[in-house]
Symmetry: C2
Subunit: 273 residues, 2 copies
């Protein structure tokens, strides 16, 4: 068992600190979700650490859609804003309409239809942060993924769907599971690489994984003030060949990747002008 | 074993014949691929049968990219053209550039990044013909697909990737296989529904499928003048609960769906004006 060191995050942060430019990330928060606020604080902190600019645009939960779309159109045209990031989940709001309003070259999370479609076509421009973080971690672990069986327990727009596309593009054999999957264990125990992001603590137990599997835990739950992933870490780490801790695994790499995406967005906008 | 009747195709054709408008499909053929020519003839024939208009735009294999893109931009602006369909495979040409040039509302095959992204986000506008054909056939077979294990043997932009997204959106458990999959049989014999599109005749044999599985054969190969799918039909039909013939299964439904997509494109363009 090899524990994930900080190095993918550290590597990316180091690269970004050396950059001479200072792009701006504008995060949109609708409502008062406390997990969202915590994720936003982490982005703000890393922006500071690497010398990027950060703004927060807040809306009350009951704000009409038109007002939010109007603000996004304004940010699309603002030359001092390089990345627009609506913090998910969006309460009571049609997520599709929000992402369709964002200019693809300012879509720092890679969640507009255009950017997801480019990823599906194996011609990626901006890749969702968690997806790229998982790819970075697999590379860091030096796993030869071609032809490997990979099971993903998540089928969201944010993680499972784009991750499955990125991984089939690399000629792995991907299975996409979720809460309606019957006999989840049958799919997890066949996986050379297991990636889980359900928000259900202790969902993944040692008996569910293959001996020497690589286990990547991108789950997030907060119970009694304690952040937890999906994996029963103490028992699974004895059986896995590689495993990400959680907290402290996929999350911090994702924040670093978001910063690198912001720089990509900035450069795309410079190329345009 | 229940054989696929013509009815999904017949149903769609009947609907389309009743329509009062006559949208135009423009197919782009680059080079001289004989399978492509055969597929184009089928589209032209169905356009005639239902009273839609058809044009063919041919290019030599060595035509420079700029000339093809220029023609697409012209077709994008032509009010008498409602659907633009580059017949795949494109020889020697960057497929991504071609699809990025097509206006999403004229993208009758649903293969632009925007349309594929809308499908991934479960907010589809135009869905690729083969994908929609498979969904139509499953509906016709009256299969309750939620929570079913579905194995797809194909991971192309045209079939496997968008089909996996459409099927995970319906809360099935999808596995995406391809020629680099190790132990294909392990993935096929676990499938309640098997969808194959490899172009390798007789790849799928009876020992590879689950008793009573639904088998959908979207493969295409031509050997000694004879069109064949991927499935060893005579033996697999004894074990499957439902199976599409090939030829005469997915193909004709796909052509009908393409016509319905053309009508959708036409209506989107009318709504815009």
């Amino acid at each position: 068992m090899k524990k994930l060191s900080d190095s993918p995050k550290t590597k990316i942060k180091k690269e970004l600190k050396e950059v001479k430019v200072s792009p701006r990330l504008t995060v949109i928060l609708i409502g008062q979700n406390s997990a969202s606020k915590s994720f936003i604080r982490k982005k703000k902190k890393m922006c500071r650490e690497i010398g990027f600019k950060f703004s927060l645009q807040t809306f009350k939960k009951e704000t009409p859609m038109e007002e939010i779309i109007g603000k996004i159109q304004e940010l699309n045209e603002d030359p001092d804003v390089h990345g627009i990031l609506p913090q998910l989940p969006l309460p009571r709001i049609d997520e599709n309409k929000v992402f369709e309003a964002i200019k693809p070259e300012k879509d720092v999370d890679g969640l507009t239809p255009e950017n997801l479609g480019h990823l599906l076509r194996d011609n990626p421009k901006i890749i969702p942060g968690t997806v790229e973080a998982v790819l970075e971690i697999l590379e860091h672990y030096d796993v030869d993924i071609e032809s490997q069986n990979i099971t993903i327990v998540n089928n969201s727009n944010l993680i499972g769907k784009p991750l499955s596309m990125a991984l089939t593009n690399r000629m792995t054999t991907v299975t996409i599971c979720h809460h309606k999957t019957k006999n989840l264990k049958k799919h997890t125990e066949n996986a050379d690489i297991l990636i889980t992001a359900t928000g259900k603590p202790d969902l993944i137990t040692a008996d569910m994984i293959k001996e020497d599997a690589v286990v990547i835990d991108a789950g997030y739950a907060k119970e009694d003030g304690k952040v937890q992933g999906d994996v029963k870490f103490e028992e699974v780490k004895e059986k896995a060949s590689k495993i990400t801790p959680n907290p402290g695994g996929v999350g911090p790499v994702t924040v670093a990747v978001t910063m690198r995406n912001l720089l990509k967005c900035y450069r795309m906008q410079q190329d345009e002008n």
